[in-house]
């Protein structure tokens, strides 16, 4: 026992106690997905979709992007992506999409035996344009119809005609769900779900903001794992329950002056999706060198709550204005804001070959952020699921060059 405690004490990072609660919640989420599928009430859904509406209408949801993260973290990305490539999908395409298509083709060879079969596919293009084509491919395999919630990218302030168009998308979505799942829409129920969603987001945001403290109570890998309920269980009691527990632990760490890593020396910003297949090795390797990531652009993306008298208008506003739907200038602004608010020394931009919407522009934004904030940054290239596209040695060399600037 003493030996075990010693080993834990020696680790460069501190594990969150709430990780066990997270595992229980996500297991329950998985079982609920299977039950919904068996009852003919499951939709696959993209991470930026206004999930409050299907949840309020009694439709179960599963997130293929999150499943992609599972495939990545189980280090079977190349194999599962390979199934899609055998079907004719290019290796140049998004690895979330490839792994999802591959797992739908061979669920028996995939982690957790694949996602349960969907009865509808709900795509919102506020995170990228790929989701529509990815879901089209899944639709051909499963027969589930695709619904596109179209939120054209914005430039500056959202215009009245943009609002009106997206509002029509909400109406079309309600019709689609009513017809496909023989259900009805109730504004009262949407308000209940919206309130729960708002509570979850508020608690999550407080956890994130706690990382302004020095030492930071959470590191990148902590947040990337802990974000699972805010993505997949938004609008449920389960998510609120989890984030209450997480916030309690995080605030406890702050009060005791405990950091996510033992010896915090350098505070960096992370940009983009993480390499799921090496998430612990990568971030803990840096933790051993005193590098912590108190903020990242990815987990900060879930921040808008539904509120106000006109809930549909609130859906329009929140889901049109997500981070990835706002262009290069907004990304640069966000990075500069995080660097300032979290007192960061520099930044690492992970150029994810799969994700053009997130990654194209990083070479330019790196320069702009450095110019505006005065802190150094580096761009490393790889992928989030497909480890064949990740050159560890090359990446370490680039990171070493960045870290040398802080010595």
């Amino acid at each position: 026992m003493a030996e075990q405690e010693k080993r834990t004490e020696e680790k460069v990072y501190r594990q969150l106690r709430t990780n066990s609660l997270l595992q229980q919640i996500m297991f329950r989420y998985m079982l609920e997905g299977h039950a919904a599928s068996e009852n003919g009430r499951l939709a696959w859904i993209t991470s930026g979709f206004p999930v409050e509406i299907p949840v309020a209408m009694g439709v179960g949801v599963n997130y293929p992007e999150q499943y992609g993260a599972v495939i990545g973290s189980q280090k079977v990305g190349p194999q599962i992506c390979g199934f899609a490539e055998e079907m004719g999908y290019s290796q140049e395409l998004c690895s979330y999409a490839r792994s999802s298509i591959g797992a739908a083709r061979y669920p028996e060879k995939s982690p957790l035996e694949g996602l349960p079969k969907p009865q509808a596919l709900l795509a919102c293009n506020n995170i990228c344009g790929t989701v529509l084509r990815w879901y089209d491919a899944i639709s051909e395999m499963t027969g589930a119809p695709v619904f596109l919630f179209d939120t054209p990218p914005t430039q500056g302030k959202q215009t009245p005609h943009h609002r009106e168009y997206v509002r029509q998308s909400v109406m079309r979505l309600i019709d689609f769900l009513s017809t496909t799942f023989h259900t009805t829409f109730s504004e009262e129920r949407l308000r209940e779900v919206g309130n729960l969603s708002g509570k979850g987001i508020d608690l999550w945001t407080r956890c994130l903001k706690a990382c302004r403290n020095r030492p930071s109570p959470l590191n990148c890998a902590d947040r990337f794992l802990a974000m699972a309920p805010i993505v997949s269980l938004r609008g449920t009691e389960l998510a609120v329950e989890f984030y209450q527990a997480l916030l309690e632990e995080v605030e406890g760490r702050v009060a005791q002056g405990l950091g996510a890593i033992r010896d915090e020396k350098i505070r960096l910003l992370w940009d983009d999706i993480p390499p799921w297949f090496t998430i612990f090795r990568f971030f803990n390797g840096l933790a051993a060198r005193g590098v912590v990531f108190p903020a990242d652009t990815y987990t900060h993306a879930w921040s808008g709550s539904l509120s106000g008298a006109d809930l549909v208008d609130s859906v329009v506003s929140v889901y049109s204005n997500v981070y990835l739907n706002k262009g290069l200038e907004a990304k640069v602004d966000k990075m500069c804001e995080l660097i300032k608010e979290y007192s960061l020394d520099g930044f690492i931009m992970f150029s994810v070959r799969s994700c053009k919407r997130y990654s194209l522009g990083q070479l330019v934004s790196k320069e702009l952020v450095m110019e505006r904030t005065g802190v150094p940054g580096v761009v490393i290239e790889g992928d989030m699921v497909d480890s064949r596209l990740f050159n560890d040695a090359q990446i370490q060399t680039r990171i070493d060059a960045l870290l040398e600037m802080f010595i």
């Binding site: 290019s90 395409l93 054209p152 053009k356 194209l360 330019v364």
Partner: protein, 402 residues
């Protein structure tokens, strides 16, 4: 005329117009509101990828940006673009083009860059209204930036020109679908290219003349009736069974690929020594989509009319409705007696690469053999692509002889 020759000729024309007569507004996505742009006194000119451009994108774009955007960016960085008063990027079509528009603004701050955002969902009138307002906003920006107001008479003139162009080019497409020897494919490609680079009376007259000549040569045959029927059906996006006489000894191939320029196909065929008569229709490419867009209505609000016209064009892989697209492809393959489908995929082009397996499956189910060609704007692998095309045609020939 080769692809390179067509490009040089058209560019020199664009240069002349840009400098001496009118300002040129370059656009990248083929469904630009050309009538509105012309109504402001600009020459709308499609900016295309060009072979032989030295890469100059590395400091700004990663290698996984699509090869088309890399080529355009390099042209600009190398000062190889024709003189443009402004450049119009599309929004909500693909992620590469969206982001490259933003990057362009930062890297070339003196360039005037606009964005026109398109609806991606099939939302009927809501989509028309959205696009109409986007176009109206573009019109206001053009006036503000250049002091050139919208002119209704110039709009009407432009609408008349595009109508003439489309009617004639549609006839030529439909004619070639039955009798490809009626017009060399390279000639069709050059006519489209010239119009897209510089839509004026001269370029339209050339197209009208070519259509009249084709009509005269077909007058004695019994082909005019089925040709007109095919034209109408292609416009509606739905073909029914047709019977028409065609040369069964010669293979009939169709080409698909959202971002493929007809001129690039000419270059490939020519390099491979393949008869242009084998290429019956360049389905879903720049040329086809430009041709089979319905003319805009002269009555009512010009912005709404142009939006309605643009949204009537054949569906893009960037839009909702894969099943409709596949159904259209199956119709064409079956009813136009197509032996083989060549699917061109531009490297790192999400829409092309995602759709290719679905197109391949649809063609195979229709009994049509398929060749998938990975292609980049530089045609850097031209020899190998040519050999693959030759083998493909030989396969079809031997299959037809059985």
């Amino acid at each position: 005329m080769s692809y390179e020759q067509a490009t040089i000729q058209s560019n020199s024309q664009g240069f002349r117009l840009g400098v001496a007569e009118k300002l040129t507004l370059g656009y990248i996505y083929p469904h630009a509101p050309v009538e509105i742009i012309m109504a402001h006194g600009f020459v709308p000119s499609l900016v295309r990828a060009r072979p032989g451009v030295v890469g100059a994108f590395e400091a700004s774009l990663q290698t996984f940006a699509c090869s088309y955007t890399r080529n355009l960016f390099s042209q600009r960085a190398n000062d190889q673009l024709p003189p443009l008063a402004a450049l119009l990027f599309p929004g909500n079509t693909c992620d590469s083009l969206l982001n490259v528009g933003d990057i362009w603004r930062v890297r070339f701050p003196d360039d005037t860059v606009f964005r026109l955002t398109y609806p991606a969902a099939n939302q009927g009138e809501a989509g028309v209204h959205f696009l109409a307002e986007e176009i109206r906003s573009l019109s206001n920006m053009l006036e503000k930036a250049f002091g050139l107001p919208f002119s209704l008479s110039e709009f009407e003139e432009a609408a008349s020109l595009t109508r003439q162009f489309r009617e004639s080019i549609q006839f030529l497409y439909a004619s070639r679908a039955i009798l490809p020897q009626v017009l060399p494919y390279s000639k069709l490609a050059a006519l489209i290219h010239t119009f897209l680079m510089s839509p004026d009376q001269k370029s339209v007259t050339e197209v009208v003349r070519a259509a009249s000549q084709a009509q005269r040569s077909l007058a004695k045959s019994k082909s005019l009736e089925p040709i007109n029927r095919i034209r109408q059906q292609l416009l509606k996006g739905h073909l029914t069974r047709l019977t028409f006489a065609h040369d069964t000894d010669s293979p009939r191939i169709a080409v698909a690929g959202g971002m493929i320029d007809p001129g690039a196909l000419v270059a490939l065929l020519s390099a491979a020594g393949i008869s242009e008569n084998a290429l019956v229709i360049d389905l879903l490419t720049f040329g086809f989509k430009t041709a089979f867009t319905r003319p805009c209505d002269m009555e009512g609000d010009p912005f709404e009319s142009v939006a309605r016209s643009i949204l009537s064009s054949p569906l893009e892989p960037t839009q909702e409705g894969l099943e409709m697209r596949l159904s259209f492809v199956r119709d064409i393959l079956t009813n136009l007696a197509i032996d083989g489908l060549v699917i061109c995929e531009q490297s790192f082009c999400d829409p092309d690469e995602f759709e290719a397996p679905s197109l391949e499956a649809a063609a195979s189910k229709s009994g049509v053999v398929v060749l998938r060609l990975p292609i980049d704007p530089e045609l850097s692998d031209r020899e190998r692509l040519g050999v693959r095309l030759q083998s493909f045609l030989e396969t079809i020939k031997s299959r037809n002889q059985r």
